[in-house]
Symmetry: C2
Subunit: 463 residues, 2 copies
């Protein structure tokens, strides 16, 4: 018999899980909408060519690709001639690109870029959208790492103003506060400043990528670890750079900015990056959701290759990874159209947020202890089914969530079931009650029981 488990790295969400997920998603949507962001949804799969070459080498390997169908698949996999020879040998080495034409969405940013390029005339000049959908990556499953997971993205397209960054940071901080987080840190850096710092340390431009990868691990492996990584990759100039990082880590932002400015000297784009960071700090200084949590961290690098300016990440102390991150990508949309359109966005990881909230017990009681219905109605006998269904109909029209025990059964069994699903009240509708237009209402938490007119049920349950 086939396994009944979900596919490797994926999960079924039973009702209690879905309610928690929807609670968090509801707050995220609410806040994004209060900032004027609009909902967008894109298909689960994209043409393979849309995604190819956008995520670097690893991304290409981790993408779930969909098999071609029918004739097109047969062309590749089926023997077309019975002769054995050169042609056969060639056909046996089949490339993935011959077998697949579609791939599952790997993130929500590349689909957004495609949508913007495809709908330039229908979309407003500045397009502010949010998108909360699953993405799929064929990563090795591990604790907290799944092959299907939700991203909650918010992006503003069409402006290179740093007001965009300030608003994004404010929105994301507001969400975390509304969810009950008070110890998150928003780290801020800039790709141009990073490049300038590497250049000023004497690191060659062609080693930039490798150096950023090593640098990004600073908080995990420490300065010695980074030095070792630099050595292993043959990068010189690390000592210099690590000294700088340590010297700015412990001082006030203003003084750190001066140190950084001195370090990068007249490297124009690095100064530009510093300028941008200064302005974001200024814009954010008086916003209610952001206070001490916003810091410049020049060791922040972020993995994705498409970032061009500001990069951002949010962390909490009790989680190894980040709750979310983002940045500016002024070059991505241009890959899909004639026009180069600036854009900046932030992505919150739903699964990470849920893990921390679960561990800290942050769900409000109405979510943590939710029940499938406000009341269950019993069925006395085959002859009284219609009476029970009618009562359910009445109570629903009064706004109650009502479940009906599905068949005539012993009252004890019906009560036991009500208890097992956690409904707070049970309406017993026996022959006597029906004759007298009454119900017997049992409070399952206190055990109290009272007989009342059926018109009173709503009122008693609501108390």
């Amino acid at each position: 018999m086939a396994t009944t488990n979900p596919a490797r790295g994926t999960r079924d969400f039973l009702p209690a899980d879905v309610r928690k997920r929807n609670y968090v998603i509801g707050i995220i949507k609410d806040v994004y909408e209060s900032y004027g962001f609009e909902p967008l949804e894109t298909p689960a799969f994209e043409n393979l060519e849309t995604l190819t070459g956008k995520y670097g080498e690893e991304g290409g390997q981790l993408m779930f690709k969909i098999l071609k169908r029918g004739e097109k698949l047969a062309e590749v996999t089926k023997l077309r001639s019975p002769e054995v020879g050169e042609e056969t040998l060639e056909l046996r080495n089949i490339e993935t690109s011959q077998l697949s034409d579609l791939a599952l969405r790997y993130d929500l940013t590349v689909p957004l870029a495609r949508v913007v390029a495809n709908n330039r005339n229908e979309l407003p000049k500045f397009f502010k959208r949010y998108q909360i959908q699953p993405v799929w990556r064929a990563d090795r499953p591990a604790k907290g790492r799944y092959r299907e997971f939700y991203q909650c993205d918010v992006d503003a397209v069409g402006s290179d103003s740093l007001v965009v960054e300030a608003e994004l940071i404010s929105a994301v901080a507001t969400i975390l506060k509304r969810l009950g987080f008070d110890d998150f840190i928003i780290r801020l850096n800039h790709r141009e400043l990073l490049r300038g710092m590497l250049a000023a340390s004497g690191i060659a431009p062609e080693q930039e990528g490798d150096a950023l990868v090593a640098l990004d691990k600073l908080d995990k492996i420490g300065p010695d670890g980074v030095t070792k990584e630099f050595d292993d990759r043959g990068i010189t100039g690390a000592a210099n750079l690590l000294e700088l990082l340590q010297s700015v880590a412990s001082v006030e932002t203003a003084s750190a900015m001066t140190t950084l400015s001195d370090f990068v000297g007249d490297h124009a784009s690095a100064q530009n990056g510093l300028n941008d960071l200064g302005r974001i700090l200024k814009y954010s200084s008086q916003l209610s959701a952001i206070s001490h949590q916003l810091v410049v961290d020049v060791s922040l690098a972020r993995g994705l290759s498409y970032y061009t300016g500001t990069i951002m990440e949010i962390n909490v102390p009790d989680l190894a990874g980040s709750l979310g991150g983002g940045g500016r990508y002024d070059g991505l949309i241009g890959m899909f159209g004639k026009e180069q359109i600036p854009a900046c966005g932030f992505s919150l990881g739903l699964e990470r947020i849920l893990v921390v909230m679960e561990e800290r017990g942050m769900f409000p009681p109405e979510i943590a202890d939710s029940t499938p219905a406000d009341v269950m109605i019993t069925i006395w006998s085959e002859e009284t089914v219609n009476e029970s269904l009618r009562l359910a109909d009445e109570l629903r029209s009064q706004g109650l969530r009502v479940t009906v025990y599905p068949e005539p059964d012993k009252l004890g069994k019906q009560m036991k079931y009500a208890d097992s699903i956690g409904v707070p009240f049970v309406c017993v509708l026996g022959e006597t009650e029906i004759c007298e237009n009454n119900v017997t209402l049992k409070n399952m938490r206190t055990g109290e029981q009272q007989t009342c007119n059926r018109n009173k049920v709503r009122e008693i349950i609501a108390v």
Copy 2:
């Protein structure tokens, strides 16, 4: 340059589309929950073996299959030895099952059956769940037929009582009424009755499947068309059957039931089916959402092979297909576990509902004419950015949805943009206004403009 269109048969949903979809989904969820159904979500893809053999031959062909990855793919597609010979020939004929290990969800019923078998001990004895998620079928795209579409399923697992059918019908009818439909018909039939009718017509058991397929087309191709299909497939006994269908179509239900009972004679399971239908009609007779719309239609067959008892379908006059359908499948869950568990469900097709609502103009104004924000705040100059952001912060904390123009710009351009996105109010925050703690508030619909204290903005907009 790559195409910027979504993949064939799929769609991007821009904000106005998403709002309409969410409006309908919101009502569906609300009503399902008022009946005590709980939310379930399952992964987008399943192990291939979970789905294989559940949907009949067509289903197998229309499934989107996911390519194996890494080593496991290379094992199948790469040449392992340079010799040319028997082995090579064999390897060239690669089967789909060798290339794929996962497939996209084809419906929501089979995943439910798997989840029930997998979580029997955690789930209540009667499990009532709803699930609103996309499914994927590699069908030829056509008007109203997509490769990615949402199903809104509701199922009750664990009881063979017909109370389940009555509650499902009531829930679905309530949804359609809440959405504004008043001309839908719910058609009801029973697989056992169908089999009995075919047997009584002298149709051989092995021709049952073919006969049902032909019969299901009666409303599309008429009695002559069905007769021709029967002839083409070498099925005899059609005249008999079609006469019966015509004789019961035009009479009252009670009289039709008598005619049907006479026709099937002492065929036990057919009489059982008739009995079931009678009981569903009785249970439904006094429910507020169901009145004249519930009819027995013995020509209804439904495509899926897993139905065992009641089958149901909902139609409206101006749509060729159905708005949804369902039935009882008491054998499906047993395919995944040791235990045979009865179940019955209904699936509403979101896309079909949306098409009809769009054509009929059924969306309420707040959905049809929704705007991305209640108010837009202008930015006067680089120096006043902070003031604009602070005002946005204030108004959001008062519950307004606020968008900020992202950069200092000519006031005319800012107004033009506000107009293009349809915000009803614009807050102009110029130097004078800032000095006086005022804003100039423009009503974009009437053109009226007034200067007021910033504390009054909320009040004026809410009026």
